[in-house]
């Protein structure tokens, strides 16, 4: 166990280092944007009106002070880390003075809920079908399912989402195509709200599952078809073990190991949001927030969202590394 503790320590320090570097890169990237939040605010405020040019100059000065953009880059960097250490990302520059943390907290549950459900469903379905297809090579139905999964996989997600929208929102309008829940409903722990939540999530989840299924399917199938030729499988078959048992305990169990890695990574990537899904289905979440923040040059908000995603993905990668030895006994850390 001592070898593992050393490995753990090393791995944890790697984690901290990566998070630190990642957030720093995010800081540089967001502050290097040529979009000036003050100019964006002014443009939005004077867009339709008839504003005296002198007034605009005065406005610019006031906004710079208000948004705290007076100091140089180093000052802003120091302020940023001071704030982050207490979990505060500062006020949003395009929705001043609402704190970034509040905006993210509002959108986060939607993104996490949607993507968690979709990722897990497509993982389970994809691996199940892929495993079966890889093992029962001669089954026509599974072979056909493989072709269908393959055909769907490369279709750009935007098209898949939109076609579903048109099919179920227009041609056969049975499902709602906008929003996270019915309009004029107050979010509460009642059956009507939960039913509405469920109905509004069907199309987004369906589109994400259809888009993600193919990848898991093909990965699992190729892994399984590799394992099927292993000696121990042939031995078990010859030994008369029930084929379903072979599939479950021998083949899938081993094939799933890299797929679990993939799942952890995908779960970490959830926090980048599903921008196209939110756009097409009008679904609330981090994606829309991120895009509108980028357009408004709102450094604080973009930085907040990307920091959350950096931490989430790092945790996922860490978790994979720490648990991989337990999943695959062949890989043990040497002392």
């Amino acid at each position: 166990m001592r070898g593992y503790s050393i490995y753990l320590l090393g791995r944890l320090s790697q984690f901290v280092l990566v998070v630190f570097i990642g957030i720093n890169i995010a800081f540089i990237v967001t502050h290097a944007t040529p979009i000036d939040p003050v100019e964006q605010s002014i443009a939005a405020a004077t867009q339709f009106g008839s504003t005296n040019p002198e007034a605009v100059a005065l406005m610019r000065q006031s906004l710079k002070e208000l948004y705290g953009l007076q100091g140089g880059l180093w000052d802003q960097y120091v302020t940023f880390w001071k704030r982050v250490s207490v979990g505060d990302f500062g006020p949003s520059l395009s929705a001043f003075p609402t704190p970034v943390r509040v905006l993210i907290a509002r959108a986060l549950p939607w993104t996490v809920g949607l993507l968690l459900v979709s990722t897990v469903i497509s993982w389970i379905l994809g691996n199940l079908l892929g495993g079966l297809a890889g093992y029962y090579r001669n089954n026509k139905v599974l072979w056909l399912a493989g072709i269908v999964a393959m055909a769907f996989h490369p279709i750009p997600y935007y098209i898949v989402a939109f076609v579903l929208l048109i099919l179920f929102g227009f041609v056969w309008p049975v499902l709602p195509i906008s929003g996270g829940f019915t309009m004029n409903m107050k979010p509460a722990f009642e059956l009507t709200f939960i039913a509405s939540l469920f109905k509004h999530s069907i199309l987004p989840v369906l589109s994400l599952v259809l888009a993600g299924l193919g990848g898991w399917f093909m990965g699992m199938r190729s892994l399984v078809s590799n394992i099927v030729t292993e000696d121990y499988v042939t031995y078990a078959e010859l030994g008369g073990v029930d084929s379903r048992r072979i599939l479950a305990s021998y083949v899938m169990r081993n094939a799933l190991v890299p797929q679990v890695t993939g799942l952890a990574m995908s779960l970490g990537a959830i926090f980048t949001g599903a921008i196209i899904t939110e756009q097409v289905f009008g679904y609330p979440g981090l994606g829309t927030l991120l895009v509108s923040a980028v357009h408004a040059g709102d450094y604080s908000l973009v930085l907040g969202i990307t920091s959350v995603s950096v931490v989430a993905v790092s945790v996922a990668v860490l978790a994979v590394d720490l648990f991989y030895p337990f999943l695959d006994p062949r890989v043990r850390t040497t002392g």
């Binding site: 090393g10 790697q14 280092l17 990566v18 998070v19 570097i21 990642g22 890169i25 995010a26 990237v29 967001t30 290097a32 944007t33 040529p34 979009i35 090579r137 072709i147 393959m150 055909a151 996989h153 490369p154 279709i155 750009p156 997600y157 935007y158 098209i159 939109f162 048109i166 990848g215 093909m218 990965g219 190729s222 590799n226 030729t229 292993e230 890299p258 890695t261 990574m265 980048t272 921008i275 196209i276 991120l290 895009v291 980028v294 973009v302 969202i305 990307t306 995603s309 950096v310 993905v313 790092s314 990668v317 991989y324 695959d328 062949r330 890989v331 040497t334």
Partner: protein, 286 residues
């Protein structure tokens, strides 16, 4: 048993043949761009919104362009783009993954830290920033290189985990004891096991880069002067083609992408079976 092997072989050769045919078809269309009667960026050179018929075999767009000739340029640019991204990122992923998985220890730790940083970097803000900074000087090759640099990390990890499990296998020790150096072991012993994974990740990578290109185009962060599949969808969107009933503007580019992918897949699957030492053995036996 013999019958099963025969059938597998047939199927794999059939898959190979089918894959070659599909890809050749796609490449032919891409090559047709060299003889296009219309310059790729001009609009209103034919009557707009015509349904597929003769001569506009795939119809015309709302911008007055022939869908077929646009598609030749689009698929050519998209394939070039996907190919560059895949090639560059595979090379990086292979090198990093194999070295890291085999060497272990400090090298592994350093390489994985770099790798993790690349995995962790938020893709979208970086690409958007890249787009803003490059602006007029932005070219598809530059974007391809940028995406290649961002797309190797995940696959490197995959290769690394495979390399790690290969290292513990008996034949590795055998090779080591028989005096092969690291480079020889990596290229001659491990590569054949790794290549099938590399092929399937290549396909995924091409798919990913095309998907990302389409996403960026749909959101508008793109150079609209060069036709690619993503740019075609961008323009179709601008003209609300789906709702206006101009389905051919979207259907044919998507169909071509699907054909490309299926072709690549068939090729990859049949080549996997050919290269994988274990299936080779099972074919030789009896």
């Amino acid at each position: 048993m013999m019958f099963t092997i025969f059938r597998d072989l047939f199927r794999s050769r059939g898959a190979f043949a089918a894959g070659v045919v599909l890809l050749a078809f796609v490449l032919l269309i891409a090559a047709a761009s060299l003889v296009s009667p219309y310059p790729p960026n001009d609009s209103f050179v034919v009557a707009p919104d015509l349904a597929p018929s003769w001569p506009p075999v795939l119809g015309t767009t709302s911008r007055g362009q022939d869908v077929f000739w646009q598609l030749t340029f689009a698929i050519r640019n998209t394939l070039l783009f996907g190919f560059i991204v895949a090639l560059v990122s595979r090379i990086i992923a292979l090198v990093v993954g194999l070295v890291s998985g085999y060497a272990g220890g400090f090298t592994d730790r350093v390489l994985m830290s770099i790798n993790d940083t690349f995995i962790v970097i938020p893709l979208f803000p970086i690409l958007v920033l890249f787009y803003f900074v490059m602006r007029e000087r932005m070219s598809w090759t530059l974007l391809a290189l940028a995406m290649a640099c961002l797309g190797w990390a995940y696959d490197a990890r995959l290769i690394r985990s495979l390399a790690m499990s290969l290292r513990t296998r008996e034949f590795t020790d055998t090779a080591l004891f028989s005096g092969m150096n690291t480079r020889q072991i990596l290229t001659q012993e491990h590569m054949p096991y790794v290549l099938p994974i590399v092929f399937s990740t290549t396909m995924n990578n091409i798919n990913w880069s095309i998907g990302l290109e389409v996403t960026l185009s749909v959101l508008g962060f793109t150079d609209i002067n060069t036709p690619t599949i993503g740019v075609m969808i961008y323009w179709a969107n601008q003209h609300t083609a789906m709702v206006a009933g101009i389905w051919w503007w979207i259907f044919f580019p998507v169909l071509l992408v699907v054909i490309t992918f299926i072709g690549l897949f068939l090729l990859a699957v049949s080549m996997n079976e050919y290269i994988d030492p274990r299936s080779r053995l099972s074919r030789v036996a009896t």
